[in-house]
Each structure stands twice: as C-alpha cells, then as structure tokens.
C-alpha cells in the first residue's frame, strides 16, 4: 500500500513535469507574441515593446523563460500581464464564484442520474427505459449554448425571472432574504445547464453497470432463493454496481477548475471558465499557464484519489 502510494506520487510528479513543459511549449511556439498585441497603437513605440519584453523576460531563450515562470508560480509571484494582479489571487477569486455553480451542478447530477439509471435498468426494454434512453441521447447531443437559449427564452417569457449574471444589477440594499432569492434564481439556470450533460452520461453509465451486475450468477441465485425483487435489486445488485462510481468521485475534481467557458460566457458569470477565455483573448500567458497547471494538478490528484478509494472499497484489488 505504502509503496503503491510512493510509486504513484513519483509517477504523477513526472507526468506533471512533462505537462508543464508541453503546455509551455504549446503557448510559446504558437505564432505571434504577446508584446505585439497592437502594432497600430501610436503610443506603443518600439522602445516600449523592448522594455516590456525585458520586464517579462520575453527576450531570453525559452528554457530560461520556463524556469522563470515556474519559479514565480511556486513562490506565488506570478502576475497577470493584463492587469498586474497576482495570477493565483485572480484564479482564487474566480474560483469562489464558480464554486456554487459547481456544487449545485454536481449535486443535481448525482441525485438525479442514479434513480433514473437504476429504474431504467430494472425496466429494461420497457417504455420508461426507452424514453429515458432517448432523452439522455437528446441531452448529450444538444449543443450547450442552444439549450441555454431555449431555457432563457422559456424562463424569461414564462416566469419573468432575471437570469443573466450572478445577481440582479443594483439589487443590493434590499432585505437579505430577497438577496438570497435573487442569487438562487441566478444560480438556477446555469447549474441546470451544467448538470444536463452529466446527468445524461452518468445515468447511462449507471444503467449499463446495473445491467451487467444483474446478469451475474449471484443475482440469479438471490432471485432463485425467492427474495423479494426490491431486495435483489437494491441489496444484491446495486451494492456491487456502485463500486466503479466510488472512483468517479475522484474524477469530479478536475471539473472544479474547468468550469464551462460557454455557459459562463452566455450567463456573464464571472467564473473560472470566463476568466480563462478572457486570458486567452488577451494572450495573458501567465494566467493561461497557471490555469492549465492547476487543472493538471487536479486531474492527477483526482486519479490518485480514485485509485486509493478503489483500493479501500474493493478488497479484491491489490496494487
């Protein structure tokens, strides 16, 4: 166990190192330079460009830029080129904005997809199963932005509820209960949208997992013993079908930072995804690279946690 943990941590660190190199190369080898953002600007003299290049180490060879960047990142000194804010602080603020979206979305995903998936595996081939299947394909296939507009039209014309932004503009100063309701309304649509794809995929996965377990011999034995079907489904089958989902808890982690670029930009939600999008537009390399690095750390931590959970939950696995 300990040796497994040690080995996998070393392995993940090596992977992280290569990820940092690859992402750095992708950004810096792409054509164009951040110092040439606006060549037409008359205030932007060549001397100034040269000064900026020196200030941000852009005139040095790539490997030294790499070392400078990651030295700054680990000492927490990375600053955004756009507004000179510390990159980590910026990301943290945006992360706090994205967090409620992520939490509500995850809760919706996990609480809805399990009942739907289990029920459609039990009712296999019947009307419920077929309609659930069709709807989950529909939700997987619908482009997020299109679905967002359908929902916006529907909600705005039917309920006259504000949907854009984190709260109604200028609504401060009213009573706290109104504030909370206002925030909740604004949270509703984006988190539903964030959850739809997850619900569709996860419920399909629950269904196939349940079907696989239901075909096992011990389930047939349980049924042959004359156990009531609830007990067979929920005690014998479901418990074993749940195993792989334990590992999926680890996979949630990367979703923390990925956010959704498209949904956040439709709803003007000042979250992670939108910050990343704005950073890309502004060629703000330190922010792009930091987001990339943090999300790689989260992916690796997620797989590590899911491996550990799997070992704890399933005694048959010896790594």
């Amino acid at each position: 166990m300990l040796s497994f943990i040690g080995r996998s941590i070393v392995q993940k660190l090596v992977t992280l190192f290569f990820v940092s190199i690859v992402s750095f190369l992708i950004i810096h080898l792409a054509p164009g330079e951040p110092s040439q953002v606006d060549p037409m600007n008359p205030k932007f003299t060549p001397e100034m460009v040269e000064r900026f290049r020196q200030a941000f180490h852009l005139d040095e060879p790539l490997y030294r830029q790499y070392l400078y960047f990651y030295r700054d990142l680990f000492t927490g000194q990375t600053i955004s080129w756009k507004d000179n804010q510390p990159a980590l602080k910026k990301i943290w603020e945006r992360f706090l904005n994205s967090l409620p979206l992520f939490i509500v979305g995850t809760i919706l995903t996990w609480t809805i997809s399990f009942p739907v998936g289990i029920r459609s595996s039990i009712a296999r081939g019947r009307f419920y199963d077929r309609s659930a299947t069709f709807f989950s394909y529909l939700l997987i296939s619908i482009p997020g932005f299109f679905f967002a507009y359908i929902l916006i039209i529907f909600v705005v014309t039917q309920f006259h509820v504000p949907v854009i932004g984190m709260q109604t503009f200028g609504a401060g100063g009213t009573s706290w209960i109104q504030n909370i309701m206002d925030r909740t309304w604004h949270l509703l649509l984006p988190s539903i949208l964030g959850a739809t794809g997850g619900i569709a995929i996860l419920s399909r996965y629950v269904r196939s997992q349940m079907l696989e377990v239901e075909g096992q011999d011990y389930v047939r034995t349980a049924r042959a013993k004359g156990l009531p079907s609830e007990q067979v489904h929920y005690k014998h089958a479901l418990r074993n079908a749940l195993l792989p989902f334990v590992t999926m808890f680890g996979m949630i982690l990367p979703g923390l930072i990925g956010g959704s670029v498209i949904i956040e930009s439709i709803f003007s939600w000042p979250g992670m995804g939108r910050m990343a999008y704005e950073a890309i537009l502004a060629r703000d390399y330190p922010v792009i690279l930091t987001v990339n690095f943090v999300s790689a750390v989260l992916v690796l931590a997620g797989t590590f946690i899911s491996d550990l959970l799997y070992m704890v939950v399933d005694p048959r696995i010896r790594l």
């Binding site: 792409a30 299947t133 482009p143 932005f145 990925g258 990339n292 690796l300």
Partner: protein
Amino acid sequence: MNNTSENAQYQDLTLEEPAAPKRTRLQQFWRLFKRNRLAILGLIIFVLFFCCALTGLVLTSGSKPVFDPAQVRLEEKLLPPLTRPNPETLQPNEIPPMGIYLFGTDDLGRDVFARMLQGAWVSLTVGFVAVGISVLVGIFMGGLAGYFGQHYIHTGHLLWTAFLTAGIGLLAANHPVAGIIILAGAALGPFFFGPGKKLPGAGILKKRTISVDTLIMRFVDIMLCFPSFFLILTVVALLPASIYNIMIIIGLTSWMGATRFVRAEFLSLREQDFVSAARALGLSNFRIIFRHMMPNAIAPVLVSATIGIATAILTEAGLSFLGFGVPPPHATWGNILSDGKRFIFDAPWLTFIPGFAILVVVLSFNLFGEGLRDVMNPKLRERQ
C-alpha cells in the same frame, strides 16, 4: 450390406444443409442492427445529412452559385421563414432561386437556407477529418504500444533523437552549418554504432531505459491532463483562424481513447493462436498487424469514432459560437447561431434552425454509434 447403408446414411448427413442457417458476418451484423430502431433512425438521418452536405457544397460554391450564401439584401433583413421576397425592391439576380426564403433571412438579409446548406459541409468535414486524424494517430500509437510494447528504448536511441532534435533546432534557429554537421552526425551514427558493430564503449549505448509501451502510455497520460476544450480553445485562438487548423487541432487532442482501445485489443490478440500461427508462417510484422490483428481490434475504435464525430461537430459549433471558428464570410452552423443570438427575441429562427440542425445531426451520430456498440458487444446483447 450393413456397412454400405451406414455409408449412405453418412452421405445423407453430409449432403444435408447444416442445421443452423449460415450467415456471413455482415448479414449477422445487419440482422442484429435492424432490431435497434433508434440506430436505424440515426443511420437514415446520417445518410440524409450526407446528401444535404454534398448538394449544399455543389449548390453554394463556385463563382455563380445557385444559392448564394453571401448575397446581402439590406431591404429584406430579419424576415421570418417562408416569406416571399419583395420583387419590387430587389434586383432580379438577388431573388433567391426558389422564390421564397425557406428559413428566413438574417440581420444582413442573407438567405439562411443557403447559409445552412453551406454550413452543412463544414460540419461534415470537420467531423470526419478530425476523427480521421485522431483514429489514424490512435491506431498508430496503440498498435505500436500493443505490438512492440515490450521492446526497450536504448540509450543509443535517446542520444540519436537528441542529436536529431538539436540539429533541427539549430537549423530553425539560423545556425545552418552547426545544424547540418549535427544532423549528418545523427545520420552517420547508425553505421558506426549500429547492430553487430563491436566498438569499445558501445555497450553504454545498449543500456535499457524504458519500454515503448511505458513511453506511449505516459504520453497518453500527459495528454489526458489537459482540459480538452480549454486546450483546443487556446491553440485555436493563438493560430490563424482557418477551418483546417480547427480540424487538425480537434484531431490531435482526441486520439487518446483510440490509442487505449487499440493497445488493449492488441495486448490480448498477440497472445492468441492465430497470431502465433501467422508468425510461425514467417509473415512480416506489417502483414500480421494490418491483415490479421487489425480487423479483430477495430470494432471499439469504430464505435468511439462514430461518437467522436458527434463530439467534434459539437466542439466546432462551440468554437464558432465563441467566435474562434471559420473566418466570417463563410457560414457554419455555429456562427449562424452565434450571429443570431443578438436577435433571440425578435428573430428566434436564427437561433432555432441551426440549433436544431446541430442537435439532429449530433443525435443521429450518437444513436448510430450506440447501436454499433450494442451490436458489436456480445456482453450487452439481449439473451435470446
């Protein structure tokens, strides 16, 4: 006497048709596939979409297209679907060929039907080319890892690669003389230190480092660490806007699944008897891989490719929506929708028509792919 009758009996038996009706693989596949009505629906829609995209390409390209997607008619802007153009304010060559705006017009008075036709071809090619690239890379990497995985990379190989990279790097960095010298050194290296050569100190070049399998699978792990849509967005934003860049980038960021499938299949197939037999017959590796192993390993790749096409179409639409798609005069479904979002309450057809088109096409690919998976996976088949 007895003997002959027995013989006759055997003859009867051999002449009889085999009890189970013999079907080819394809027939059997079709028989199972036919039962899945949703998958059939997906296939039909896919064929229709393919025809639409082809006719759209023919009708909207060239110097004098039948449907001109770029024709601007400012008098006729934001007309709802099925309106007739007003012949009094338009030049005769501006009137759409069917005498009606089937899907209405957009904010510049361009015919949405013509733009949709043009966009269909973009969606189709993006889906197929991107997935083609990712499947090719996936098969190559997966095949390498699965078939030659147990081979080790020697220090000599690493040194050679380092020389090659350094040479190319120097060439690119305007040091042609040094670059050429180092490249020549790399090219001549195998003649001096190649297999069978006994040179003092050559042993150090034969030190094993890591296996091919480890190398490739670690690379897959590294690629999986990137948040894919964010990575695609970054690269597309940094590169010049062009449809080919988008296809290549989507393809190069989605090959990891195919690699894993091919590798897993190859690892189990290479232990099987028919591969040993092929090797015993002295067939070349190339022939064993492509003639004997690949047909048995391709099923999961095909399924994931079909679903990958759906994902690629969605990704392209998302990029167009964010403004990173195909450059403006050219229409794609994503940018028709993204242009139309400003008029969402006044001209909802600009949002709904491309949205539904994307939805239906992506849905058809997903349904077809899932149907394929059900047919090809004996475990999920219903017990009969």
